[in-house]
Symmetry: C2
Subunit: 380 residues, 2 copies
């Protein structure tokens, strides 16, 4: 297998982009990635997207985006794994280059959630769960997370405020991030005073609705200089139904994907300088920290609360604000995470920079943690 490098990255600001289409957003990210790489050579395209069928009435984004960016002819397809789509697509791109099938692959994620009214967005997110057994009841994805959240508080005797601190930390990190949707601090009091989205989860503990696109250009590492090297990618699944899990507070897919990625990259947890986790709600972020192996089960909320995930802490986490404050255009989110880790490793993260960042990990979740993609990057 060839080593794979990230030759270029590009992304849009995350906003409610009322005047931009899926194509506009995708093209902006892709052309920035080409510019960043100093080349627009590409022989395959992987597009990651979750909700365009229900939000825009749009499928077939592979051929559409290949044409949009002036690359008619190349192999192009869409990868979907709910909100892990970006991480899963990245892994397919890495495999294509590593194996020699492709020499230059663009992986681009795009999502435009503001086209949907809230009920449509909520229904689209709930499509990650089984329509016949779960979503048809009307339960939202946040409602399902609330079951986990309450259980966590009860089993480990954790206060709601400690879990909610995940959102406070994310917002602290987003300050100064030029692409973040919500680049400002919020206090724990404000989080706790925000309305209940699904008891015990407050609105300000949930990632919002955003539009954006992020893209990465991959090529064999030996042709590049000063590049970011893909040290490992992994993808795993776990029990699809919450009711089927031996432990509702453990994401088996995360454990498995993390174990594989750490082994494959041959790095230890203490070597991870930057971590991007999938905090679509605060409890998801907390459990992710645990199942990735950065902190013991049941101790995640305290870990966050006491400051171990801050920029100067033990494991700087969600350094541009994470899903909560950077924003969560679902099908593109995994690629935003990867672009952000790349920025950190290049020491180009500006006010969000983590000192001497050499190795970073991004974790992307689909559904209630039933799909997990893990990517480990390091400086070349």
């Amino acid at each position: 297998m060839r080593r794979v490098a990230i030759a270029g990255i590009g992304f849009t600001k995350i906003r409610e982009h009322w005047s931009k289409s899926l194509k506009d957003l995708f093209a902006e990210a892709a052309l920035k990635a080409f510019e960043d790489a100093g080349t627009d050579e590409v022989d395959a395209l992987y597009v990651s997207n979750m909700g365009a069928a229900s939000l825009q009435g749009q499928l077939h984004l592979g051929a559409m985006m290949a044409d949009t960016i002036g690359k008619r002819g190349i192999a192009a397809l869409r990868v979907e794994a709910a909100s892990a789509s970006g991480g899963a697509a990245f892994r397919e791109g890495v495999k294509a280059v590593a194996s020699g099938y492709s020499d230059c692959v663009l992986v681009g994620g795009v999502e435009k959630m503001s086209d949907g009214i809230p009920a449509e967005v909520s229904a689209t997110l709930a499509m990650s769960e089984d329509q016949e057994y779960t979503s048809y009841t009307g339960v939202t994805k946040i409602g399902l997370n609330a079951l986990i959240h309450r259980h966590y508080m009860e089993r480990f005797g954790v206060k709601a405020e400690d879990i909610a601190m995940f959102a406070v930390r994310s917002h602290e990190n987003a300050v100064g991030s030029p692409h973040a949707q919500y680049p400002f601090k919020v206090s724990i009091d404000r989080v706790m005073a925000s309305p209940m989205e699904a008891d015990p989860i407050h609105t300000l503990e949930c990632a919002g609705v955003g539009d954006g696109s992020a893209a990465v250009l991959l090529r064999p590492a030996d042709e590049a200089k000063d590049d970011i090297i893909v040290a490992a990618t992994s993808l795993a699944t776990g029990a699809y139904y919450l009711s089927d899990r031996s432990d509702i507070l453990t994401f088996e897919a995360v454990r498995q994907a993390a174990t594989q990625a750490f082994k494959s990259a041959d790095v230890s947890h203490s070597e991870i300088d930057v971590l991007e986790v999938h905090d679509d709600t605060t409890i998801t972020g907390v459990i992710s920290l645990e199942d990735l192996g950065f902190v013991e089960k049941g101790m995640g909320a305290e870990y966050v609360s006491r400051g171990d995930t801050t920029r100067g802490g033990e494991t700087p986490t969600n350094t541009f604000g994470g899903l909560k404050a950077r924003g969560n255009p679902v099908g593109a989110t995994g690629l935003y995470q990867i672009c952000e880790v790349a920025l950190q490793l290049r020491q180009e993260a500006g006010p969000c920079q983590v000192e001497d960042a050499n190795v970073g990990l991004a974790q992307s979740l689909g559904g209630l943690g039933s799909t997990c993609a893990v990517t480990i990057l390091r400086r070349g």
Copy 2:
């Protein structure tokens, strides 16, 4: 790269399966493929599907189907390239095994179209075209094909009956096929007397609405005996918009994918014993024959009409009835084609058997030919 073999195939009958869910259909095909292969070992799953978001409100089919077939843990994702999803997913699976990333990959396509009322099915199919420039007008995919169809008749002076013969030939071949949705003959008079779907395309020139699932188990060829070898896979795109094409009667993606596949497999057209083409309408089948290189541009309809695509003809085509008569559960269709070629090469095609079939080609189209996947198989 390792040579890749098809170790097992499985598929459901194509019907309106009112009492079966997406999961039921997928599991039936997957378990049959395991049984056929004599093993249920699998370390990665690619699910191909086009319309479940709009027809079932279902995304995240990777993790869902991995769990459904008892394979929690494995890497799983969905591939979508409109109606070329099956061919595109197959290619990803082949790449995973060829490169050594996976040792045993299941590629399974599933579609359940009967859950939608006709307007919903039509809207889902139209999602393969640009919602902002094309589909929003209300034009259907068959309506767009009608532009091509009329232009073809005018430029080449071809009679409507000659193009419509593609449907007659498909139905002839479907007789005796146990999984075909419409395994009976239809006369050219009956086709021409059927209502206009979109002038000049008659209803009986269009693939219908069907539910089904088809799956293929892939593994390295050197571990298997009497297997079907994947000689080549290719995927290409072309101009996305009909209005952007230098020639409305040429599918550039088909030309490019065919050129790549023939070169990679190192076989000539005359060596192809069995051909499966994407005849979602008769004109698409005719143009596919031309752009794949089996007959000169403008001569495709005559080629079909005079019998060169029949079971005993020069290029036995759509030997189980094709999209028209076997059926077209869109996201699964590409995998039905591949299973059928495999049956032919194993000499297990029963009444549909083509004598001494050693090499076969399957072609899968997305949109108006803007994505094309080509697969060439041969006996090991």
